[in-house]
Amino acid sequence: MAQSILHTAESRDKSDHGWLKSYHTFSFGGNYYPERIQFGALRVLNDDWVKGGMGFGEHPHDNMEIISIPLSGSLQHEDSMNNVAVIESGEIQVMSAGTGIYHKEFNKNADEPAEFLQIWLFPNQRNVAPRYQQQRYSDDISTNKFKQILSPDSNDSGVWIYQDAWFSIAEFDQETTSTYTLKNKANGLYIFMIKGSAKFSEQALNERDGFGIWDIDNVVIKAFKGSKILLMEVPMNY
């Protein structure tokens, strides 16, 4: 029987550092909410707003799959593997932190904010060699249809990570009903409403709401005009 959990936009923890405003779907940093730790392998879903010219100074990561999806503006990325890159809306970036990586990330534009989703998944292997990948998905995306932007397979569509997870994204300019079939029935699906509203198997969602569902084969999605949706299929046991 299907099981589900709803995380409304208003129920998320908020931190405000002036230059950084962040909404945390799950416990993060100094705030601990025992009932909001993770959804399967999905451990972090931060909805970040970064003031122009500001950003995260050099800091380390290890043993985590770290995915960034800019929603507006652009971010300058530099890391200890000598990657220097700019990521912007329509792109996805992944870092497999593995044995350890340092990076810094700044809003490239001095006079306009940047918004991005920061998503962390537990890896399916510890202590892998760190890696970085970035890809533009928006060039060949069809409106009103989900596009896969992440998978565990380097030969599949989108970027790849060390976890049996699949992400898809879509933007809708008309009401559209579609079905998402899970790749692995032991996985769960976490839906994040980037923009607008939609219904998922009768659960209505509004902007920035999150909804996790598991013990299912597929989900019927009724997306309304003006909506943008991120689907994250992740292992519930990892």
Partner: protein, 105 residues
């Protein structure tokens, strides 16, 4: 008030320093770092730790050996794998492990 003593085992020196610093910024905790299996076992014998965090870089066999040895020395200390290498998940990992107060391996 006694501080919660936490041993962090991580072979990546810079990340180890970061985790120790983050733990020590909390007035109720004291972090001690070890970057080898041998150093971790020596420290564990001399200090009464309430929690062991295993960070990045140890080989799988070393992690197993460490856990086996720690269990032989003190059965009730939670041993958890640390993920993320920084502040994001650290406090939640600590609170979850101490709150459960169970052997996780």
């Amino acid at each position: 008030m006694d501080k919660t003593e936490i041993l962090i085992v991580c072979s990546h020196d810079e990340i180890l320093k970061t985790i120790v610093r983050l733990i020590n910024s909390n007035t109720s905790m004291r972090g001690t770092g070890a970057n080898t299996l041998e150093q971790a076992l020596t420290l564990f014998k001399s200090t009464s730790f309430q929690l062991v965090l295993i960070g990045a870089g140890l080989k799988l066999e070393e992690e197993k050996e460490l856990i086996e040895n720690l269990n032989q020395l003190q059965h009730k200390v939670p041993i958890v794998q640390h993920y993320g290498g920084g502040s994001g998940l650290l406090l939640t990992e600590i609170y979850e492990a101490l709150g459960n107060n169970t052997q996780l391996y």
